[in-house]
């Protein structure tokens, strides 16, 4: 889809008038998004949300000025430009011809109405049938960044979010598509939650913990927050973090937006800068923090290309898009077999990191006990708690098979963003387990 029907060169020329400072960042972020949703099982409560707009930005010295608007036209653009530039006389610039291309007709994705039935079939295959509510949403987003000397290509993202509610509680996931594997994953999670609905929480204390690939993706996403340059700057000089040991030697972790699932992969970030295959951790040592243009200008050791923003009404900031864990050498079965007394969690419900202290928590709705190297009884809610560096330092092994999945919604700083991961099961030795909360 074309986003704009306009001469982008005229936008560049307008932006060039915003600041005479060649070091200043001046850009305009154009955006269009569509979300359609329905409660699966029947095509009921059909919802379609569409919006478009733009944000003009000036970052110069220690100041940033943004003007965001919910419509795209030449007059509105020029008004926002003047507000951002702060010193731009009226009449100096001709109003650019700027209009968005027409929207296509609003239609739910064809896989959505039948996804509920596909999940129900998968549940029956597992000999399960219980009342549940399934809400599926299709998210689509197009964006284009225009700078003083740069016109980025139109980038797009499309994915699905699924949310279930049942007697066992709530569960949600992000899915690149609604194919058979997606239905199987949702049914597997729903079924596991249902079977563990009355299980007691495990005893708090220290034990070994095996995480399934989806749970490991959430852990790594939270850990990656600590490798965002604005987070590092909260408590010190981000440049000094490079080379610091942050995890065990078996942890090799990248952020690679270009390697994300096909419908969400990116060539450029939300500032229009080409993305990098960025090594965050190599052998557990910090390599290259996640950075955007503003932070990269201040820190010579980092590169931009990791800026993300929820929408035009938010300022961009450094954030991971698609984390990739390098596979280990042992099978998932061997990970479990090596544990005498511990826990297994396939999925995590949420993660949390305090950037000033490194305090970290990862919550699980249910899991299994591991005794003598075998998965045994189901357990109810529990949480892993500790300092993020110590938790990553406790990773003793990574499984040899990686799986692509949505790590979930990230909510750092109030910005809600989808995050993706290619991760593998992992074994954490001697971590602190505390009581969890049943999400009813």
């Amino acid at each position: 889809m074309n986003l704009l029907d306009t001469d982008l060169g005229s936008i560049c020329r307008c932006l060039d008038l915003v600041s005479a400072d060649p070091e200043a960042i001046v850009d305009c972020y154009f955006e269009r998004s569509e979300e359609s949703g329905l409660v699966a099982g029947a095509i009921a409560n059909v919802e379609v949300h569409r919006e478009e707009g733009f944000a003009v930005r000036l970052v110069a010295g220690d100041g940033a000025f943004i003007a965001s608007r919910d419509r795209i036209d030449g007059d509105t653009f020029l008004e926002a430009l003047r507000r951002t530039a702060r010193r731009m006389a009226t009449g100096m610039v001709p109003t650019p011809r700027l209009r968005p291309s027409p929207w296509p007709r609003a239609e739910p994705d064809e896989a959505m109405p039948v996804f509920g039935a596909a999940v129900a079939r998968e549940l029956r295959r597992r000999r399960l049938a219980f009342p549940h509510r399934l809400v599926v949403r299709h998210h689509r987003r197009w964006l284009q960044v225009v700078g003083r000397e740069l016109v980025g290509d139109v980038e797009s993202e499309a994915y699905f979010s699924v949310r279930t509610e049942s007697e066992a509680g709530r569960w949600g996931a992000l899915l690149p598509d609604l194919g058979a594997e997606a239905a199987s994953r949702v049914a597997r999670a729903l079924g596991a939650g249902f079977r563990a609905r009355d299980a007691d929480s495990p005893e708090p204390g220290r034990c070994d913990l095996v995480l399934g690939a989806p749970a490991a993706a959430v852990l790594l996403h939270e850990a990656a927050h600590a490798l965002e340059i604005d987070t590092l700057a909260v408590t010190g000089n981000p440049d000094s973090a490079v080379g610091f040991r942050f995890g065990s030697e078996c942890l090799d972790l990248l952020d690679d937006p270009a390697a994300a699932p096909e419908t969400v992969k990116r060539r450029t970030d939300d500032e229009g800068v080409p993305v990098l295959r960025r090594w965050l951790l190599r052998g557990g040592l910090i390599c290259q923090p996640l950075a955007d243009r503003r932070w990269a200008a201040e820190s010579p050791s980092v590169s931009p290309g990791a800026a993300r923003r929820q929408s035009r009404h938010w300022a961009p900031g450094p954030r991971s898009h698609h984390l990739e864990l390098v596979a280990g050498t042992v099978s998932g079965r061997e990970l479990v077999a090596g544990v005498r007394h511990g826990l297994f969690a396939a999925e995590a419900t949420r993660g949390w990191l305090d950037p000033s202290t490194g305090a970290f928590e990862l919550s699980f709705a249910h899991g299994r006990k591991i005794l003598g190297g075998e998965l045994t009884e189901r357990v109810g809610p529990f949480a892993l708690r500790g300092k993020v560096g110590l938790v990553l330092g406790s990773v003793a092994a990574v499984a040899d098979r990686t799986v692509v999945s949505g790590a979930g919604w990230c909510a750092k700083g109030g910005q809600k963003l989808p995050v993706w991961g290619t991760s593998a099961a992992m074994l954490l030795e001697g971590v602190d387990i505390v009581e969890g909360q049943r999400d009813a």
Binding site: E47, V48, R50
Partner: protein, 426 residues
């Protein structure tokens, strides 16, 4: 905006949807931010609209940015009928602050700089990790095929300051405040709350006490109270009574009255109608210790006041509290509650979020140990409580009602609570 909404309503009618409602909202806001060596100003102008359309058997919901027009491209509806409320007359007097202009760039940044200056004069080497001030104004309009035709304005300003104390401890605290307009925010008082918490964290000792008697300032009391709010939202009276363990309707002492008021004078969320155009009103959820009527919508209880709020134009209306508060006692001063405390704790600050484990909630709190009505030393810990039983433990309320923005505006005066546990910080 009204004309545009009516035009969209006509268009829905032309497409065969005799039952439809159009909601539009536009607003302007400014966000000022200070932190990590950067000052920023973000000016937003947002506009969007939503249409609900359907009949007895099917319905759909469509939202879009910008303003509505006559060229609707509605999606195919799905099964599930749509009911819309009828029009009802209501009187409304707008709060004067609604007309106040937004904070200017200079005013907003100066508020932040002055606050950081005050913070650093009190505790050198402390700083704002991330401090924001948001000031916004909006206009909304609802028209429907049932004759609803109403427009109203809103105004809200909130600040959230995340403060870090000096190294190496780097104690962190978050303070928030809300007012109708940005100029009504009292930045100095908010900084003082952050300074109190940082000093207590630096100098205080951890305490544990089961069944303690405490006095808590409104900002702490409101967070405790917020966990009980769900008992009164969208449930029947019987369900509320069952959850609260008050099958005889007795929830607490005669000093305990809880209200939700969608048109509270000077309230941030005050409006003549809710998100469907039903007139708002004060509703007594608990009156003198006895359970009143919970918040339910017009299609559940005949004559119910408007309580289906819309968070914005992207959202469907849903039953929610607006100004949920414990009624203050005008005869009791806050400090008299402390002076009358023979032995207990006085809490002046708390963490921002509650922690939930099983049926108990906990909240990090900061304050002073009190003996014979006098503070004797700074302490900190975690209050832990069962939200179903909290209301019965409230023994007195003072006169100083203040609100905290937590989705809804949750308000409480300084409260005295007996029999609440203080547990160690994990």
């Amino acid at each position: 905006m009204r004309e545009e909404c009516l035009s969209a309503l006509d268009a829905a009618g032309r497409q065969g949807w005799g039952r439809a409602e159009v909601f539009a909202k536009r607003g302007r806001s400014r966000r000022f931010r200070l932190g990590q060596g950067m000052e920023s100003v973000h000016s937003s102008e947002e506009a969007g609209w939503a249409v609900r359309f359907g009949d007895d058997r099917s319905s759909g919901f469509y939202t879009a940015s910008g303003m509505p027009g006559g060229d609707l491209a509605l999606p195919e509806p799905g099964p599930g009928g749509l009911r819309l409320p009828g029009a009802a007359a209501t009187s409304w007097r707008e709060c004067e602050s609604v007309t106040h202009p937004l904070l200017s760039e200079a005013e907003g940044l100066e508020m932040l700089r002055a606050a950081q200056g005050r913070l650093q004069s009190e505790i050198p080497e402390s700083y704002f990790c991330d401090a924001t001030v948001d000031d916004g104004a909006s206009e909304s309009c609802i028209v429907s095929s049932n004759g609803v035709d109403v427009a109203f304005r809103g105004r809200a300003a909130v600040l959230r300051w995340e403060v870090l104390g000096p190294a190496p401890a780097l104690d962190r605290t978050v303070v928030t405040a809300a007012a109708v307009s940005g100029r009504e925010l009292r930045g100095e008082a908010v900084v003082d709350r952050a300074v109190d918490v940082l000093r207590i964290r630096r100098d205080g000792r951890p305490v544990e006490s089961l069944g303690a008697r405490i006095v808590a300032v409104p900002e702490v009391s409101a967070r405790l109270l917020s966990a009980s709010m769900g008992a009164f939202v969208g449930s029947s009276r019987e369900e509320s009574a069952q959850w609260l363990g008050a099958t005889d309707g007795e929830v607490g002492g005669r000093h305990l009255s809880l209200v939700d008021d969608g048109r509270l004078e000077g309230g941030l969320l005050s409006a003549p109608v809710d998100g469907e155009g039903v007139p708002t009103a004060a509703r007594e959820l608990i009156l003198n210790g006895r359970l009143g009527e919970p918040l339910v919508a017009w299609d559940v209880a005949v004559g119910a006041s408007g309580c289906r709020r819309r968070s914005g134009w992207r959202d469907r209306p849903r039953v929610a509290a607006s100004h949920f508060f414990l009624v203050p006692d005008a005869t009791i001063s806050p400090m008299s509650l402390v002076e009358d405390l023979a032995s207990g704790y006085y809490f002046v600050g708390s963490d921002e979020t509650l922690d939930a484990k099983s049926n108990r909630l906990s909240l990090g709190v900061y304050g002073y140990e009190v003996a014979h009505g006098k503070p004797i030393g700074p302490i900190f810990g975690r209050l832990a409580w069962d939200p179903r039983k909290l209301l019965g433990k409230i023994v007195a309320a003072a006169r100083d009602l203040r609100f905290v923005a937590m989705g809804a505006m949750v308000g409480a005066p300084t409260l005295e609570i007996d029999g609440i546990d203080l547990i160690p910080d994990p």
